[in-house]
């Protein structure tokens, strides 16, 4: 009886400490900020391969938060918005991240195959990396320059309703163009639009 009691007590203590730690992390807020070093991460992609931000030391990296169940993401993939950009900027590392709590690597794999993606989808279903970056919507875009600094975060373009079609201003394209031309990013933050990232409780 004493053994059970001490096990239960230590479990309770662990639970309390853990939940306090989690809420401390939440209360502190996201770590990513434009102008500062992008937070590192290590996640598995849809095939289980390990991908770390530090793998891409001297390259530009685009992070794309996505969710196959979100109509904004579905619209962009049908219109090839992200895939066209990823192809156009060949030396930029394009990484999609799925922080949807109920999704698995199988779901990510299905999406990769459906759209024949040349870039991976990283499995962040516990939502830790999403929260550190402050990813709020799908899509939500982050651009990291060659020295590891976050230089853009926000919407993919200026057309949440999808009514501008070909005439939308694509913020990621604009930023990548400027970086490649050696210029500063003029629009470094915009309000992201999309479905809310479906984090775990």
């Amino acid at each position: 009886m004493g053994n059970v009691l001490s096990i239960v007590t230590s479990m309770l203590v662990t639970l309390v400490v853990f939940s306090q730690f989690n809420s401390w992390v939440e209360a502190k807020g996201p770590v990513a900020a434009v102008g500062s070093a992008a937070p590192g991460f290590t996640l598995e992609d849809q095939s289980g391969s390990i991908v770390s931000l530090s793998d891409f030391g001297d390259k530009m990296v685009v992070l794309e938060w996505m969710n196959p169940d979100c109509p904004f993401v579905q619209r962009h993939y049908k219109a090839k918005t992200m895939t066209t950009l990823a192809e156009q900027y060949g030396d930029v590392v394009w990484i999609a991240i799925n922080s949807t709590h109920y999704m698995t690597k199988e779901d990510d794999k299905t999406w990769v195959e459906k759209y024949n993606l040349s870039y991976p989808i990283l499995d962040d279903n516990p939502g830790k990396v999403g929260r550190v970056y402050g990813a709020k919507t799908t899509p939500h875009m982050f651009i990291i320059d060659k020295s590891g600094i976050l230089v853009y975060q926000g919407a993919i373009d200026d057309d949440p309703g999808g009514s501008k079609k070909g005439n939308a201003l694509n913020y990621v394209n604009k930023a990548l163009e400027e970086i490649q031309a050696g210029r500063a990013v003029t629009v470094s933050q915009t309000k992201p639009y999309g479905c809310s990232v479906k984090y775990a409780n």
């Binding site: 939440e26 807020g29 196959p68 169940d69 979100c70 109509p71 904004f72 579905q74 709590h101 109920y102 939502g127 999403g130 929260r131 990813a135 709020k136 919507t137 926000g154 949440p160 309703g161 003029t186 629009v187 470094s188 933050q189 915009t190 309000k191 992201p192 639009y193 999309g194 479905c195 809310s196 990232v197 479906k198 984090y199 775990a200 409780n201």
Partner: protein
């Protein structure tokens, strides 16, 4: 019974396929209504779209918050009719894991406008009223929706009132402006420390009574981002602090931030006040 097995497989396949997003269920029904059955020349009347939202789903306010898409309506009447602004009832907050806060509605929503009929109208005519509505309805997943609605209203010597209970119920759900007479509070804004990226503000609200569940709903224009909002009410004072930053590269002629302060009054009724504040002090 192999056919039963096949049937079961088909059912499962169809169900999974449809939930996965190929055939999306409709979660919102839209209906175009007026508060008159007949239009009288020179009179003002109301037209609105009543949106009925399935349980567990919600749609968005004019400022959806961190995610989502605002509900939008375009009313179309013949040229001689003057259409007013869209009336937005007081929204509610949806807070999700990851500190995502959205503003919107559940159950049902009436969005309406006041229309002025011209003084000259052919008595034998009928007036077509059109509305194009679009919304984003979210639960665990989000489903965009739209509707093109039409209502034909005949012209008559005297207007016939219709749906008056519905329209007056929803009118009570609007936030009101502060007036010259009795207001539930007095307020002021203080500007705090600026860093190069944003300006901090504090709104002080001093109430006449102890308010219930005070909430703040900002509606900034697209070039302005409001974040780090904190609201605390102690006895008869509410303090709302927030950061306002003009998004880089955006032009903003903004000097004014509109918002709604929602509260529960002493009779337990949900009310709202429209605040308009100058940001460039």
């Amino acid at each position: 019974m192999p056919w039963l097995f096949v049937l079961l497989c088909l059912f499962t396949f169809t169900f999974t396929f449809s939930v996965r997003g190929e055939e999306l269920p409709k979660s919102v029904q839209a209906e175009l209504l007026a508060n008159v059955a007949k239009i009288k020349a020179g009179d003002a009347f109301m037209v609105g779209v009543l949106l009925k939202i399935d349980a567990g789903w919600h749609i968005y306010w004019k400022n959806p918050g961190d995610s989502g898409l605002p509900t939008s309506i375009k009313f179309n009447l013949p040229d001689e009719f003057v259409t007013g602004k869209l009336n937005w009832p007081i929204p509610i907050k949806f807070t999700r894991p990851g500190n995502i806060v959205d503003f919107g509605y559940e159950d049902s929503l009436l969005l309406w406008t006041v229309v002025e009929a011209p003084h000259e109208l052919n008595e034998d005519s009928a007036i077509p009223v059109h509305a194009e509505v679009s919304w984003l309805s979210c639960q665990e997943v989000c489903i965009p929706g739209q509707a093109k609605l039409e209502l034909i209203l005949p012209v008559a010597e005297s207007a016939e009132i219709e749906n008056s209970k519905l329209f007056s119920e929803w009118e009570k759900r609007l936030a009101v402006d502060l007036g010259p007479d009795t207001n539930p509070f007095v307020w002021r804004v203080e500007r705090g420390m600026d860093d190069k990226k944003s300006s901090a503000y504090t709104i002080f609200i001093d109430w006449d009574f102890i308010p219930g569940r005070v909430e703040w709903f900002p509606s900034p224009d697209s070039a302005l981002e409001i974040d780090s909002t904190l609201l605390a009410t102690e006895a008869k004072q509410t303090r709302i602090t927030f950061n306002a930053k003009i998004l880089t590269g955006q032009k903003s002629f903004l000097e004014v931030l509109e918002s709604v302060v929602a509260y529960t009054d002493q009779e337990g009724k949900r009310k709202g006040i429209n605040l308009v504040m100058r940001l460039n002090e």
